[in-house]
C-alpha cells in the first residue's frame, strides 16, 4: 500500500451556525493527483486551510505526512507548495526579494529550477509584485510553490480569473510535478475540464459534505446521461433509483444517472418509459447534476 500523505478523519468546522465542513473523511496517497471540486462556499478552501494548519479542527483530525499541521507548522509547511486563488503575496517586495525570502524556508530550494521558471514566466527580477498584473503575480506565486519541488502541491483555485495563457502555465506545472516521481497534488478548481485533464481522483464537496469521492476512471464508467420518453406527461421528475439530476418536462426527460446499466432498462420500463439515448458524461455535467438539483 502506498504511503499516506494526507489523512482527514471526521473533520467538522462551523462558522457561527453554518457547518462549513460536515464530517469529512478521506485520504490521499503519495503520487496521486486529487481534484477537489465544488460550488463557491462548498467548503473547499476551508478544507485546504485545515490541511495547511490555518484552521484548527473543531472535531476530527487532519494529518499531513503523519503530522498535525497546527502542532508542527514548520514540519508540514516546509514540505507543501501552496498557491491560492487570492495570490496573497507581499506586494511591496520585488520578484528577486520574494525568491530570496521564500528560498530561505525550504532546504530543497533549487536555484537553477527557480531561475528557469522565472525566465519561462517572464518575471523580471526588479519588478515589484504590486506593479505586476494578476496573471504575473499568480506566476510568481507558482514559482515559489514549485521551486523547492514540494512533496505535496496544494493549489486552491489557482486559475480563477486568469487568462488562458496563465492557466496553461499552471496546468503544465501540475503535469510536470506529477511527472516527478513521488510528488502528490491536491488541485481545487472550478474549471472542471482542467481537473479532468490532470486528476486521477476526484472529490466533490457540496454544503460541506463529500458527495462524490472516486477515481476518475470509475466515475466515467459509472455515470450516464440518459434521455427518456415516457408514455404519459410527468408533472414531477419520476423516482428512479440512482438518478441524481432530472431535466425536462412533459414526456421527455433527461437524467444524470449512476449505477449498474443492466438494472436501468428494467427500471425505466417499470416507469412506462423508454430510453432514447444513453451516453457517458463529463465531470462538468456530474458537477452541475450534484449542485443543481432538478430543472423543469
Amino acid at each position: 500500500m502506498a504511503e499516506l500523505i494526507l489523512e482527514v478523519k471526521n473533520l467538522v468546522r462551523t462558522f457561527g451556525r453554518r457547518r462549513a465542513i460536515d464530517d469529512i473523511s478521506f485520504t490521499l496517497e503519495r503520487g496521486s493527483v486529487l481534484g477537489l471540486v465544488g460550488q463557491n462556499g462548498a467548503g473547499k478552501t476551508t478544507l485546504i486551510k485545515h490541511i495547511l494548519g490555518l484552521l484548527r479542527a473543531e472535531n476530527g483530525s487532519v494529518r499531513v505526512f503523519g503530522l498535525d499541521p497546527v502542532a508542527d507548522p514548520p514540519g508540514v509547511l516546509s514540505r507543501i507548495g501552496y498557491l491560492s486563488e487570492e495570490g496573497d503575496l507581499p506586494l511591496w517586495m520585488k520578484v528577486e526579494e520574494l525568491v530570496r525570502y521564500s528560498a530561505a524556508f525550504y532546504p530543497g530550494w533549487d536555484p537553477k529550477y527557480a531561475e528557469e521558471l522565472q525566465k519561462q514566466f517572464g518575471l523580471s527580477s526588479d519588478s515589484k509584485l504590486g506593479a505586476l498584473s494578476k496573471g504575473q503575480r499568480a506566476r510568481a506565486g507558482l514559482l515559489c510553490a514549485l521551486a523547492f519541488k514540494p512533496e505535496l502541491l496544494l493549489l486552491d483555485e489557482p486559475s480563477s480569473g486568469l487568462d488562458p495563457v496563465v492557466r496553461r502555465d499552471i496546468l503544465s506545472a501540475v503535469i510536470r510535478t506529477i511527472a516527478d516521481e513521488g510528488r502528490t497534488v491536491l488541485f481545487s478548481s472550478h474549471l472542471l475540464a482542467e481537473v479532468e485533464q490532470v486528476s486521477d481522483r476526484v472529490i466533490m464537496i457540496d454544503g460541506g459534505r463529500i458527495v462524490l469521492n472516486d477515481d476518475l476512471s470509475n466515475i466515467k464508467e459509472a455515470y450516464f446521461r440518459i434521455d427518456i420518453r415516457f408514455e404519459a406527461n410527468q408533472e414531477v421528475p419520476p423516482t428512479l433509483p440512482g438518478s441524481i439530476h432530472w431535466e425536462g418536462k412533459g414526456k421527455d426527460w433527461t437524467v444524470i444517472w449512476a449505477g449498474d446499466q443492466s438494472a436501468l432498462t428494467s427500471a425505466v420500463c417499470a416507469l412506462k418509459g423508454r430510453i432514447l439515448t444513453n451516453r457517458g458524461v463529463s465531470l462538468d455535467e456530474i458537477f452541475v447534476a450534484y449542485a443543481g438539483g432538478c430543472t423543469q
Binding site: R56, P74, P90, W92
Partner: protein, 555 residues
C-alpha cells in the same frame, strides 16, 4: 441625488460608525457647553476634549477615502469609485468641499460652543483653517498615484506635522492671527486644485494608477540568484526589518533634519548663563529651546509606530492573515522573535543617530560677551555638571532607549491582532488612557509629592501591578493550553520581564533618589516609582502578541 452626493454618501457610509460617534460626541459637548461651568469640573472638561482631535482626523480622512497604505504607489481614492462612469469633477469637488467644511466647522463648533464656555482659551479661526489645509493637502498627496510609496509616506508625515505645528509655533512667535490664517488659506486653495489634478491623474495615469496592472511593459531581467539568507530566521528578520524595523531610524532622521533646519534661519541669541568670570553666555534661541526635545523625537515616533499607526499588511481587509505570511514554515514564536530583533536593530540605530545628532548640537558655537567663541557643551554641561549628574544622564539615556524599544515593540501586539476593528480601536484607546493618566497625575500633582499620601500611592500602584501580573498569567495559560510547546517561551518572557523590571526599578529608584539629593523635590516617594517602573516594562502585550498570532494563524 446627483452623482457627487452619491460619492459623498458612499464615503460617509464606509466609516458610518465613526461619523455617528463623532456627531454624538459633538452633540454632547455642545449640550455640556450650555450648562453652568460649575457643573462640569475642569479636569473632566479637559478629558472630554481628548477624543476631539482623533475623532476629527478620522472623520476628515473619510473624505480622503483613505483605503490604501500611505506607502503604496496607488491612489488612496477608492479604485472602484475611479472606475465608475462619473465625471472627475463630481468625484473631486464634493469630497474636497466636504473635507474643507467638516474640518473647519467642527473646530469652530468645538471652540465656540464647548471650549470657550468652559472658561478655556482657544483660538477659533487659525485652527479651523489649519484643519481645512490639512484635509485638502492630504487629499492632494494621497489621491495622486506615485512612483515611490516610501517617499509619499515620508512627505505625508512631514507635511502633516509641519501644518499642525506651524500655527502653534507662529503664535508663540507672536505672529498675527490674520497672517497665520492667510498662510493656511494659501496652503488650502492650491491643495484643493492639486487634489483635483491628482484625481485626474489617478484615473488616467499608468504610474500606480488604475491602469498600471495591465499597461506596464517591462524588459525581462532575470538575475542569477545569489545572496540567499543563511536561515529562515535571518529571512524573517529581514522581512520584519523591511516591514517595521527601518521605519523608526528613517522617520527619526527626518525628524532631526526638520528640527535642525530652523537653527539656520533663526539667528536670535539670548543669555543662557554666566561664566565664573561673570561673562554672559549668548546662544541661539532655537539651539537651547529645541535641544531638550531631541531625545523625545525617537520616543514619539516609536510610540506612534507601536500603536499600529501604519496599516498592517499582515491582515487582509477581512482581518484574516494574509496566506503567504501565515504559511511560512516557521514557528509562531520565531515570527515574534524576528520582529523583536528587527525592532531592536532599528532602535539601536536610532539611539546611535540620536547620540550623533546631540553631539553635533552640543558642538554648536556659543558666544561669550567678550566675543570668545566656545562650544555649547563646554559653555554649559562641562562647566556645571558633576560626576553623579553624568551617571544619571547615562542612566536616563539607557532608560529612554529601552522605553523607545518598549513603545515600538508593543506594536507587535497590534500587528498580529486578528481583528481589524480592534487594531483600529487600539491606538485610540491607548492615547485616551495615556492622556487620562497624564491628566490625573497633573491634577493630583500636589498629593503625589505629599509624604502622607506616599503609602496610599504605593498601594494603588501595587494593586495595578497585581492586576497586570494576573492578566499575564491568564493569557499565558490560554496560550499554553492552545500550544503546550510554547511553555518554555512563555516562561522566558516572564523571566525577561522580571530581569528588565528589576533593572528598570533600580534605575528609576536611583534617578529619583539622585533628583531628591540634588535639591529637587521628589516627585514620588519610594517604592511608588519602582513599582511604576515594573508596570512600564511590557509583559501583558508581549504575551498577547503570541496569543494573537496563535489565534490568527491557527483559527
Amino acid at each position: 441625488m446627483n452623482s457627487g452626493m452619491t460619492v459623498l454618501s458612499l464615503m460617509v457610509h464606509r466609516f458610518k460608525k465613526a461619523y455617528l460617534f463623532f456627531s454624538i460626541y459633538m452633540g454632547v459637548l455642545v449640550l455640556l457647553g450650555l450648562t453652568p461651568r460649575s457643573w462640569v469640573p475642569e479636569p473632566l472638561s479637559a478629558v472630554l476634549c481628548l477624543p476631539f482631535g482623533l475623532g476629527l482626523l478620522m472623520t476628515v480622512f473619510g473624505f480622503v477615502n483613505f483605503e490604501a497604505d500611505i506607502a503604496s504607489t496607488a491612489s488612496a481614492y477608492s479604485p472602484w469609485l475611479l472606475r465608475l462612469p462619473i465625471k472627475t469633477r463630481e468625484l473631486a469637488l464634493w469630497p474636497i468641499l466636504a473635507a474643507a467644511t467638516w474640518g473647519s466647522l467642527s473646530w469652530v463648533i468645538f471652540a465656540v460652543l464647548f471650549v470657550r464656555p468652559r472658561g478655556l482659551d482657544a483660538p477659533v479661526w487659525w485652527p479651523a483653517l489649519m484643519f481645512m489645509a490639512l484635509a485638502l493637502s492630504m487629499q492632494a498627496i494621497l489621491w495622486r498615484p506615485v512612483k515611490r510609496g516610501n517617499i509619499r509616506l515620508i512627505f505625508t508625515m512631514l507635511l502633516s506635522t509641519t501644518i499642525m505645528l506651524f500655527g502653534y509655533i507662529a503664535t508663540q512667535m507672536q505672529v498675527r492671527q490674520g497672517v497665520i490664517c492667510a498662510i493656511y488659506a494659501a496652503i488650502a486653495v492650491p491643495s484643493a486644485a492639486i487634489a483635483w489634478w491628482s484625481l485626474t491623474l489617478a484615473r488616467t495615469s499608468t504610474a500606480g494608477g488604475i491602469r498600471s496592472a495591465t499597461d506596464v511593459k517591462e524588459t525581462i531581467k532575470v538575475q542569477q540568484q545569489t545572496n540567499f539568507f543563511k536561515s529562515p530566521m535571518a529571512a524573517q528578520i529581514w522581512l520584519e526589518w523591511r516591514r517595521q524595523g527601518k521605519l523608526l531610524p528613517l522617520l527619526t532622521g527626518l525628524g532631526f533634519l526638520a528640527i535642525s533646519l530652523p537653527m539656520a534661519a533663526w539667528q536670535d541669541k539670548h543669555i543662557i548663563g554666566y561664566t565664573g568670570k561673570g561673562q554672559a553666555i549668548l546662544a541661539n534661541i532655537w539651539l537651547t529651546t529645541a535641544f531638550q526635545f531631541l531625545p523625545y523625537i525617537p520616543l514619539l515616533f516609536a510610540t506612534v509606530i507601536g500603536m499600529g499607526a501604519r496599516v498592517s499588511d499582515i491582515r487582509g481587509t477581512d482581518g484574516n492573515y494574509h496566506l503567504y505570511y501565515a504559511t511560512r514554515p516557521l514557528k509562531s514564536q520565531d515570527m515574534v522573535r524576528a520582529k523583536m530583533i528587527a525592532i531592536a536593530m532599528g532602535v539601536a540605530i536610532t539611539a546611535l543617530l540620536t547620540a550623533v545628532v546631540m553631539i553635533l548640537w552640543v558642538s554648536m558655537p556659543v558666544t561669550l560677551s567678550d566675543g570668545t567663541i566656545m562650544t555649547y557643551f563646554k559653555a554649559t554641561f562641562a562647566r556645571t555638571f558633576e560626576r553623579e549628574q553624568w551617571v544619571a544622564i547615562a542612566m536616563i539615556v539607557v532608560l529612554f532607549t529601552a522605553w523607545t524599544w518598549r513603545n515600538q515593540s508593543v506594536g507587535a501586539f497590534v500587528d498580529y491582532m486578528p481583528s481589524r476593528e480592534f487594531a483600529m480601536l487600539y491606538p485610540i484607546a491607548v492615547t485616551f488612557i495615556g492622556v487620562l493618566a497624564f491628566t490625573l497625575f497633573r491634577t493630583y500633582n500636589s498629593e503625589l509629592r505629599d509624604p502622607k499620601y506616599a503609602q496610599a500611592w504605593s498601594a494603588v500602584m501595587a494593586i495595578a501591578l497585581v492586576i497586570k501580573i494576573g492578566s499575564a498569567i491568564v493569557i499565558a495559560r490560554k496560550q499554553i493550553r492552545l500550544r503546550p510547546s510554547s511553555k518554555s517561551d512563555i516562561l522566558t518572557t516572564f523571566a525577561y520581564w522580571q530581569g528588565a523590571g528589576i533593572v528598570a526599578a533600580i534605575s528609576v529608584g536611583l534617578i529619583v533618589n539622585w533628583m531628591h539629593q540634588d535639591g529637587t523635590p521628589s516627585y514620588m516617594f519610594h517604592p511608588t516609582p519602582e513599582i511604576m517602573a515594573l508596570m512600564l516594562v511590557p509583559l501583558v502585550r508581549p504575551l498577547s502578541s503570541r496569543l494573537a498570532l496563535e489565534l490568527g494563524r491557527h483559527r
